[in-house]
Each structure stands twice: as structure tokens, then as C-alpha cells.
């Protein structure tokens, strides 16, 4: 399977319905219906209403001023525009020594993604340690331990109910002592409206910067592709409190599109780094903007 084979496969499942919708679109001339349905297509993929309206409106203008007649061509330039929007998010290269902290709301797939990432980095020949700083959710450390075994990496954990910052502190000391390339930190899921939990995260961020300033710190926010417009509010809050460097989009093996990332990544000025395409250890891919947009159509 090629580099994006699985990713494509995951997106393929929903391709059918979109293509048939688009076939209908193609039959018609480039009139109001064409643009309306294009807009609905975007909204159905959870692109924000505002963005959907704006970019379709821009396309409408462009079609008019450039007197475009060929529908295939119009769709192509539209895809290109969307891809470019995504690319405006920039790029992140993980440089060692690195600390990757995964954050996000409850149940989006942080812990699972850490298992997959650890495995990926190990395969790339890096040394990896993971830290179970979700001391809140029941059996969260047990869950991460299973992933540590699967990926064959070291795990630093404390008692349930302990101070997550203390876990981070110990993990950094251990990573330094063993000269680990990449330390990945799991955090408890938290709704972004809970100030005390966000404070806890800020504290962890501070400790990392204080204890290991030489390491490159990547704060990745995990977003579930099934999420709707709340994704914007989530990212805004996390970014404001700790600063987000990149995104991970999970559960793309389902039928949800996660279209919100199109404008989100640009506004955040941070890229989508990885995508999750299943529950198995290999179900992770580097993100490819072009593939993603192709997958929507």
C-alpha cells in the first residue's frame, strides 16, 4: 500500500456519495444551482458556514470575470484554492531532541495517537519515551501502558489522581538521563471551557519549558473528524492558553470529513501534521493537503 493508500482508502468510503452528487452537478450549467450545491457540499463536510459561503462566492466572481465555461476546469481550480488554503497552515518538522505534548477534549484519540506515533518514530530509528500525564481519567495510564508495550517504548507513570506536572517533571529527567530523542506526553482530555483544567495544562507547559529548554517542544492538538463547528472554539481556547503548533485529525476512517480544518489551519497558522485512520498501531499517516481535498470530492 502506497504512502497515502490507507488514507485514500479511508476517504474512499464516502467518495461514492460525493462523486454521485458531483455528477449531478456536472450535468447542469454553471448557474446558481451549481454554486449552491458546491456550498452544501462544503457545509456537509463541516467546513464552517462562513468559509463555505465566502469561498463559493469568490469562485462565483472568478467564474464571472474570467468567463469560465468548463465545469471540470472550475472544479479543478476550486480544489486548488482549497488546497492552497490548507497549505497556508505551514509545515512542522519534528527535530530532536523533541517533546511532543498531545492535548484536546475528551475522547478524540490522544492516547491512541500516542501509541501510533511512538511506533512510527521507533520505526524511523528514533528512541522514544512516553509520559502518562493523564492522571485523571480512570485507567488512562493502563491504556497507555498497553500502547507502550505494543510500540516497545519506555513509559513514565504515576498513581491515578496524582499531579500531572510531577509526571512531566520525572519524564523529562528520565528522557535527559537516557538521551531519548523524542518524549511524548499524554494529557487528560479537557473541555476548553474549564478554566482550572486549562490552568493545569499551562502549568505543564511551563514546567517543560523550564526543565528542558533545549528540547524542541511541539504542542499538537488532537481533533476528532466527527466534530462539528465546536472544533473552532476548542482550538481557539487551547491555542490562547498554551499555543498550538500543529493539529492531528483522527477518525478519518469514518464517514466524517473534518472539513473544519480548511479554515482552521490557516487561521491558526499551524498545519495538520498527522491523520488517524483506524484503531490499529499503523493507522496513522502524514497529512497531505491535496489528498485531503481530493477526498472531499
Amino acid at each position: 500500500m502506497g504512502l497515502f493508500g490507507k488514507f485514500k482508502n479511508a476517504l474512499n468510503k464516502t467518495k461514492q456519495s460525493f462523486l454521485s452528487k458531483l455528477d449531478d452537478l456536472f450535468k447542469r450549467s454553471i448557474g446558481d444551482d451549481f454554486f449552491d450545491e458546491l456550498e452544501e457540499l462544503l457545509i456537509s463536510s463541516d467546513v464552517s458556514v462562513k468559509t463555505s459561503m465566502e469561498i463559493v462566492e469568490n469562485l462565483r466572481d472568478r467564474v464571472k470575470t474570467e468567463r469560465l465555461k468548463d465545469k471540470d476546469f472550475v472544479i479543478e481550480i476550486f480544489k486548488e484554492e482549497l488546497t492552497n488554503m490548507l497549505l497556508e497552515g505551514g509545515k512542522v518538522e519534528i527535530e530532536t531532541p523533541a517533546i511532543i505534548m498531545l492535548v484536546g477534549v475528551n475522547g478524540v484519540g490522544k492516547t491512541t495517537t500516542i501509541g501510533k506515533l511512538a511506533n512510527k518514530f521507533i520505526k524511523e530509528g528514533k528512541s522514544v519515551t512516553i509520559a502518562a500525564a493523564d492522571t485523571f481519567r480512570a485507567a488512562a495510564a493502563d491504556q497507555l501502558s498497553v500502547w507502550a508495550d505494543r510500540a516497545k517504548v519506555r513509559i513514565i507513570k504515576h498513581q491515578e489522581g496524582g499531579d500531572p506536572s510531577a509526571v512531566v517533571f520525572d519524564a523529562i529527567a528520565s528522557a535527559k538521563a537516557k538521551e531519548t530523542d523524542i518524549l511524548i506526553i499524554d494529557t487528560a482530555g479537557r473541555l476548553h471551557v474549564k478554566a482550572n483544567l486549562m490552568e493545569e495544562l499551562k502549568k505543564m507547559d511551563k514546567i517543560i519549558k523550564r526543565e528542558y529548554p533545549e528540547a524542541n517542544l511541539y504542542k499538537l492538538m488532537v481533533l476528532d473528524a466527527t466534530t462539528g463547528q465546536n472544533a473552532f472554539s476548542q482550538v481557539e481556547a487551547f491555542d490562547k492558553d498554551i499555543g498550538i503548533n500543529g493539529l492531528v485529525l483522527t477518525k478519518l476512517d469514518g464517514t466524517a470529513k473534518g472539513g473544519f480544518i480548511i479554515s482552521l489551519s490557516r487561521e491558526l497558522e499551524a498545519p495538520v501534521c498527522f491523520v488517524g485512520t483506524g484503531e490499529k498501531i499503523d493507522d496513522i499517516e502524514d497529512f497531505d493537503a491535496k489528498e485531503f481535498i481530493e477526498g472531499l470530492f
Partner: protein
């Protein structure tokens, strides 16, 4: 600014040319519905569901006489609100009980929806009702899922039945036998999260269902879910004939439009709302509150209900009377803020207050505190008379207040506007008979 006001401002604009003629015309309704549609989509209501909803509401609205007591905007919101409430059904959180013990409750839903936590909450809820529930761990896939259920069960003081990674069908059958032998009257089966398109996994649920014939099959839905809600709810319902829906993570700031989507496509009652990570955070579903949340009106009703525990009974009665008689003053507004401050969890409560919630970023406590402080300072700089009747506030009075409170005229005006909005909303809710204590 509260989202409610943004929708109502847009509608005000639509109706700005109205007032003279006495009926809502088709054109105006069409324009108004455009705004409503956007509001619904922004709240994650599915695009097809929104379309159907708009058609229905338009039919109702066209030609309606404008009531003297309401502005056209208020009237349209009233119709939309009533229709939303009607569609979302009743406040019915009763769980069916089987004629022959034990009653079996089976969970279903996507990964990460919140099923395991909900199991613990339901177990505690049933225990408090004098039932004797048994939890059953059938998520044999996610690492440590059964461990998690055991911890949750332990916290609820409820026994957890599990057979490791044994086939869930066999485990649930054994659990029923176990329940019968040891006198458990309710069995709650936790299942693994699964995608609705995962054929093997959907078949597994069908097999468990066939084996233990559950009285309740609950579909657990993350309230932050987007457009895909319709497809997910429809598939689960078609495969399993679910008996009810449960919404989770409603303690966030999602508008929760998926509620409408899931309800519209399944027709099944929404039985509970999950509103926090603690075991006690389980609430009945109130369609009226959800309607105002979807419309972005600020969940004033929930605010008030929660405030009840902080405000004394007596204070609450007084407040209710004031709302009823429409004599709610700035003094009461101040009392409200004080009560909220005493309540803890100030963040989510504030997010529900018109004028503070909505788009404002609530993750920074300092800003909230500062804003509340400002509001307090402004109100405290007013005379008693001004607090009771802010309409007397002319330029020179405002200047004095600005100086006294160390704020700006804009801030004073903003407060007055928010206060008016709160009052208006109270009035409207009272008119709609959706205001109850």
C-alpha cells in the same frame, strides 16, 4: 456578545422596513429564514434537517398576524423556538423496566462518545433510585477499557462483571445469569465504540442484542458532533432499533445542533444529558433549554436552575416573581452576579449569561473576573433610583457613573444593553410559558 443578540440583530435588520403593515410577508419570512438557516447550520444542525425545518417553520410563519406585544423578530424567534421544542420532544428521562428481572440496558455509539463514563453515571443514578444494578464490560478492543469500567464501577459502588477479552455475546449472556442468581435487577452493558460503517462490529452489537434482548438500547452521542450525526444516528437506529438517545459533554460550549439532527432522523426520545466528568453529572433532557442553546440564546434557564442551589429558595422565589411581573432591575442583576460568584464553576455559568457568553473566550478566568468586577463597579456606582429605573440615565448621570466606576461610557452602555436583553429574554420566555422554576 451573546449569540442570541447576533441572530436577533440580523433579524431586526431583516424586519427593519416592516412595522407598518400588519402581517409577516413571504419575502420577509424568506429573508428571515435565511438567517435562521445559517444559525442552525452554525449550531451543527444537519443541512438536510435544517432545510426541512425551515420549510415547516416558513409555512407556519407566513401570513401570521404580528402580535402587539412582540416585535417581528421576537415573533419569528418565538415560532422557531416553539417548533424546535416540539421537534425535540419531551422531558422524558424514564428508563423502561422489564416485566421479568433483570432489566437490560445496552450502550451503543461511536468511539470516544462517552459510553463507559455514562455507564457509571447510570449505575449510580439507578442505585439512588433503590435499584441494584450490575455493570458488564464488553469493550474487549480498546486497551484498558474494562479497567476503566472497573474503576468507574468502584466509584459508583456497583459490581462489574467481566470476562476479559471473551466474546461479548457470551459475556453478556453469562452476566444475565449472574444477575439472576445474585439478585441484580438491572444489567448495564458497556460496549466498544464503533464506526457505523464497520460491518463486523455492527453485527457484533446485533448478536449481543439478540442474545440478551435489552429493554433499553441507548445510543450515546457526543454533543460536539457535526454534520455526520444524521448518518450515524440513522444507521445505529436501523441496525439496532435503539430505544433512546443520550447526549454527552454538554458542559462544553457546543451549540448542540446534532441533537435536532439525531432526534429528527430517529424519532427516539432523548433520555439524558451528560454534563461533566463526575459520576453525578447526569441530567434530564430539557427541550426548551436545548432550543435556546441551538439558537444561541444563552442557556439562561439552566443558569437559573443551577443558581437555585446557590441562591436561597427565598431569593429564587423573589426573582421568579420579578421576572413574572417584569420588575427585574439592575439590583437583581447584581445579586445574580454575586450568587454566581458564590457558586464556583463560574466559567460555565457565565458562559450561559447573555452578554458574557457566546463568542467570548471563557478560558481566561482573569477576563471574566475583570468583566464581572466591572459590571459590579458600574452598578454599584449607580444610585438606588437609577438601579431600579435605568431609563433615567442621561448623559450627566452616566458621566458620574463612569467616573465612579473607573470605566467608560461604552462599557456602561454595553452593560445596559445586556441587561435589557436579559430582561427581554425573560419576558419572552415567560410569554412562551417555558419559564419554570
Amino acid at each position: 456578545m451573546a449569540l442570541f443578540s447576533s441572530l436577533s440583530e440580523k433579524l431586526n435588520h431583516v424586519f427593519s422596513k416592516l412595522t407598518k403593515h400588519g402581517r409577516l410577508t413571504e419575502l420577509e419570512i424568506k429573508q428571515a429564514m435565511r438567517e435562521i438557516r445559517i444559525a442552525l447550520l452554525e449550531a451543527d444542525v444537519n443541512i438536510v434537517v435544517a432545510k426541512q425545518f425551515i420549510n415547516k417553520v416558513s409555512e407556519k410563519a407566513v401570513g401570521q398576524e404580528i402580535l402587539k406585544s412582540l416585535s417581528p423578530t421576537q415573533q419569528v424567534i418565538k415560532i422557531v423556538n416553539e417548533e424546535l421544542i416540539a421537534l425535540m420532544g419531551s422531558t422524558n428521562s424514564k428508563l423502561e423496566v422489564s416485566g421479568s428481572s433483570p432489566t437490560v440496558i445496552m450502550m451503543s455509539g461511536l468511539q470516544g462518545a462517552g459510553k463507559t463514563t455514562l455507564c457509571g453515571k447510570l449505575a449510580l443514578y439507578l442505585k439512588k433510585q433503590g435499584k441494584n444494578p450490575l455493570l458488564v464490560g464488553c469493550d474487549i478492543y480498546r486497551p484498558a477499557a474494562i479497567e476503566q469500567l472497573k474503576v468507574v464501577g468502584g466509584n459508583a459502588g456497583v459490581e462489574v462483571f467481566e470476562k476479559g477479552t471473551q466474546d461479548p455475546v457470551k459475556t453478556s449472556e453469562q452476566a444475565i445469569k449472574h444477575a439472576k442468581s445474585y439478585g441484580f435487577d438491572t444489567v448495564i452493558i458497556d460496549t466498544a465504540g464503533r464506526l457505523q460503517i464497520d460491518e463486523d462490529m455492527m453485527q457484533e452489537l446485533e448478536r449481543v442484542k439478540k442474545a440478551v434482548n435489552p429493554t433499553e438500547i441507548l445510543l450515546v452521542i457526543d454533543s460536539m458532533i457535526g454534520q455526520v450525526a444524521v448518518e450515524v444516528a440513522d444507521t445505529f437506529n436501523k441496525r439496532l432499533e435503539v430505544t433512546g438517545l443520550v447526549l454527552t459533554k454538554l458542559d462544553g460550549d457546543t451549540r448542540g445542533g446534532a441533537t435536532l439532527s439525531a432526534k429528527a432522523v430517529t424519532g427516539k426520545p432523548i433520555k439524558f444529558c451528560s454534563t461533566g466528568e463526575k459520576l453525578g453529572d447526569l441530567e434530564p433532557f430539557y427541550p426548551d433549554r436545548m432550543a435556546s442553546r441551538i439558537l444561541g440564546m444563552g442557556d439562561v434557564l439552566t443558569l437559573i436552575e443551577r443558581a437555585e442551589t446557590a441562591i436561597s429558595e427565598e431569593q429564587a422565589k423573589k426573582l421568579e416573581k420579578k421576572f413574572r411581573e417584569n420588575t427585574f432591575t439592575l439590583e437583581d442583576y447584581l445579586t445574580q452576579f454575586d450568587a454566581i460568584k458564590n457558586m464556583g464553576g463560574i466559567k460555565d455559568l457565565l458562559s450561559m449569561m447573555p452578554g458574557l457568553g457566546g463568542k467570548m473566550n471563557l478560558s481566561n478566568l482573569n477576563i471574566d473576573e475583570k468583566q464581572v468586577g466591572q459590571i459590579k463597579a458600574i452598578i454599584l456606582s449607580m444610585t438606588k433610583k437609577e438601579r431600579r429605573d435605568p431609563s433615567i440615565l442621561n448623559a450627566s448621570r452616566k458621566k458620574r457613573i463612569v467616573e465612579g466606576s473607573g470605566t467608560t461610557v461604552q462599557e456602561v452602555n454595553k452593560l445596559l444593553k445586556n441587561f435589557e436583553q436579559t430582561k427581554q429574554m425573560m419576558k419572552q420566555m415567560k410569554n412562551n410559558k417555558m419559564f419554570r422554576f
